[in-house]
């Protein structure tokens, strides 16, 4: 009889950190053939349009960056929280909190000097996301409420807060739809490249990668957050104020997700609508895991995801495969990556008895 056992292996050399994610992506793309074929799509044509749709023309390439921006921010948000083992599954609600607050400021700041408007909107969106995330952090640290459940449930609470406001005080006068008035021009993100939607938020999200990398690697806070994530009891006995670390982690994590909401509002929609996010907060979880919780990893995995999401639209148009294939591929990518990561630490030993 043959038995398989999973045993610990020697640490892999540094190049494996680069090779393994790439291998995971390749395997995911190969596995994607299954849903494509099930949908009756022509295989090579589908792959061609997937990549052509995302990278083939100048406009599409820039659109891929437009799509990557919120994914990058929510991915960083989740990665930053998970690193400290604050299980923030609530990036979606924090994104909405950011967009909602940015709308309030963006619509009503008409009488302020123009140069003040955008910074205020951005900071307000960041703080709103951060404060919304600090609720589950407080519940976790002070009242021992499970953070997975509370962050998840708060997503639905935020959706309904948004609904109540969009059908109420924030609703565009005269409209019967749940949508707000348009934000003023001074609150819009500048478009940085002609004939595209390449906006300032993309620069913000790339800057966030650097900032989070810096916090993680170069600051005592980054070290403490890592310690809390590795072993909260040891961190506590080592003299780290774990409550404060988790709260600050939540604030920054939620703030990043809030910025994603600000970007969607101020660069793309210009008014708040119920479906301002097609689940970027949830995709952020996969992106964070795929990037192995490292900011640079998150950067590449968010770019990979936006290629899939943008490309899937062209693929769908040209081959008839439903666009939801993008979600299926995202889910598969996560599971493949998890299994690959496992084998960086363990190996399978085959035993014959």
């Amino acid at each position: 009889m043959i038995r398989f056992r999973i045993i610990k292996r020697e640490p892999l050399p540094g190049w494996a950190k680069v090779v393994i994610p790439i291998a995971a992506i390749v395997v995911t793309l190969i596995l994607s053939a299954i849903p494509i074929l099930l949908a009756g799509g022509h295989l090579w044509k589908s792959y061609f349009y997937l990549f052509h749709g995302a990278l083939g023309t100048r406009y599409n390439l820039l659109e891929t960056f437009v799509k990557a921006s919120p994914l990058l921010l929510t991915g960083l948000a989740v990665a930053f929280a998970f690193r400290a083992k604050f299980w923030n599954i609530g990036a979606e609600g924090q994104l909405l909190a950011g967009a909602l607050t940015a709308t309030v400021f963006g619509v009503h700041m008409g009488s302020f000097p123009a140069f003040l408007v955008l910074p205020t909107v951005i900071i307000a969106g960041f703080l709103a996301g951060g404060l919304w995330a600090s609720i589950p952090a407080l519940l976790k640290t002070k009242l021992k409420v499970d953070d997975v459940v509370s962050t998840l449930l708060l997503n639905y609470v935020m959706v309904h807060i948004m609904g109540a406001l969009l059908f109420g005080p924030l609703q565009q006068p005269g409209s019967s739809w749940p949508r707000s008035s348009a934000i003023i021009e001074a609150a819009c993100y500048p478009i940085l490249m002609a004939r595209s939607r390449f906006h300032m938020g993309i620069i913000i999200s790339f800057a966030a990668v650097l900032i989070i990398w810096f916090i993680n690697k170069k600051t005592t806070f980054g070290y403490r957050a890592k310690a809390v994530g590795t072993n909260i009891r040891a961190a506590h006995f080592g003299g780290i104020n774990t409550t404060s670390v988790i709260l600050w982690t939540a604030l920054i994590s939620g703030g990043l997700a809030g910025l994603a909401g600000v970007g969607e509002l101020c660069a793309l929609q210009y008014r708040l609508i119920m479906d301002i996010s097609p689940g970027y907060g949830y995709s952020g979880i996969v992106i964070a895991m795929l990037g192995n919780l490292h900011p640079v990893g998150v950067l590449f995995s968010s770019l990979f995801f936006s290629v899939i999401i943008v490309g899937a639209q062209t693929m769908s148009r040209m081959t008839g495969v439903p666009t939801y294939i993008a979600e299926v591929i995202q889910g598969m990518a996560l599971m493949v990556m998890l299994i690959f990561l496992l084998f960086t630490e363990y190996k399978i030993r085959v035993k014959r008895k």
Binding site: R5, K8, I89, Y156, H160, V328, Q330, L334, L338
Partner: protein
């Protein structure tokens, strides 16, 4: 105001409470089974959505509603098996594998639905379950008619609650399950197969979650909408904690949630001035508040979240 709180309102509310609680009861029981064996299954939301979609699809295609329920249970079992493969056999983080399953199953449910139905302007519908009135019991004054005119799946859910309690507390299998959840090393020492027990609990737990999802598309509604689950899986996770990992207490939690959900629907229909989104929010808020109350005395299975690998103790 006063006329809305009459007998018709109250009996309507009782009926709605039972209806809205049914999917949560199924899901909570499924999650309790998994967690008692030591595995937190965060795939629940996705498994319910796949159950809802599969149940709808099979009922639509075959015309047999019970076949739809059966198919939903099978899909739940398959996804439970996948969860077991990732979190038990490979020993990956339970948090992450569960979320992965939810994301994967959510994408898959929408993908298959679109594949089969395209994007119709009017969503396709099925002939849903009919409510069944139980003889004798429905004669009980006041509450009888409301309580005992329910969908068959609701009655099944009621029967499953004591069944699950008996399974967990009164049978040899239940003892094994609880031992595996509390002390996997000890269970292994006395010859209980930890991997197999956890796998089976996830598989059958998944079946219950799938049926819970199918209730929403085959009884509560008669169509599949993308947001049909609406966080009910997460609510079930909360109810497990609220109910201290006990089937009966978890069901009480599910009934409270069902009551709030039913009340919200009733109050919407009588047209109060408060925006209905406020009511939609209440069940989720109350769930969080309930968690604050119980988190201090929660008796978490000691082996929960801990992957079990024989090798790690030197083999």
């Amino acid at each position: 105001m006063s006329e809305i709180f009459d007998i018709a309102f109250i009996s309507g509310l009782i009926g709605a409470t039972m209806r809205m609680a049914t999917p949560i009861i199924f899901a909570t029981l499924g999650e309790i089974l998994s967690e008692r064996a030591g595995v937190l299954n965060l795939g629940i939301e996705g498994i319910m959505l796949m159950g809802a979609m599969t149940g709808f699809l099979f009922t639509f295609s075959t015309g047999s509603i019970w076949f739809g329920v059966f198919a939903a249970a099978c899909v739940g079992m398959l996804l439970g098996l996948l969860m077991a493969l990732l979190s038990v056999n490979l020993g990956l983080s339970q948090h992450v594998s569960g979320l992965g399953i939810t994301l994967f199953a959510t994408g898959l449910a929408m993908f298959i639905y679109r594949l089969h139905f395209g994007s119709p302007t009017v969503p396709p519908i099925v002939e849903p379950f009919k409510q069944v009135t139980l003889p004798v019991l429905c004669k009980i004054p006041l509450i009888g008619p409301a309580l005992f005119t329910q969908y068959s799946l609701t009655y099944i859910a009621w029967l499953l609650v004591p069944a699950m309690s008996i399974l967990l507390y009164k049978t040899n299998i239940g003892l094994k399950i609880r031992t595996v959840g509390e002390n996997p090393v000890g269970a292994d020492t006395v010859g209980v197969n930890v991997t197999l027990t956890r796998t089976l609990c996830l598989v059958f737990g998944g079946a219950l979650m799938g049926i819970g999802g199918a209730f929403l598309t085959l009884a509560h509604q008669n169509m599949f909408l993308i947001d049909v689950i609406g966080g009910r899986g997460w609510v079930a996770i909360a109810m497990v904690i609220f109910g201290n990992w006990d089937p009966l207490k978890g069901t009480i939690g599910a009934l409270i949630f069902g009551f709030m959900d039913g009340l919200q629907l009733r109050l919407q229909s009588v047209g109060l001035v408060i925006p209905f989104h406020i009511f939609l929010m209440i069940p989720y808020l109350l769930t969080i508040v309930a968690l604050i109350g119980v988190s201090r005395r929660a008796a978490v299975p000691a082996g929960l979240l801990k992957p079990y690998r024989r090798e790690e103790k030197g083999g």
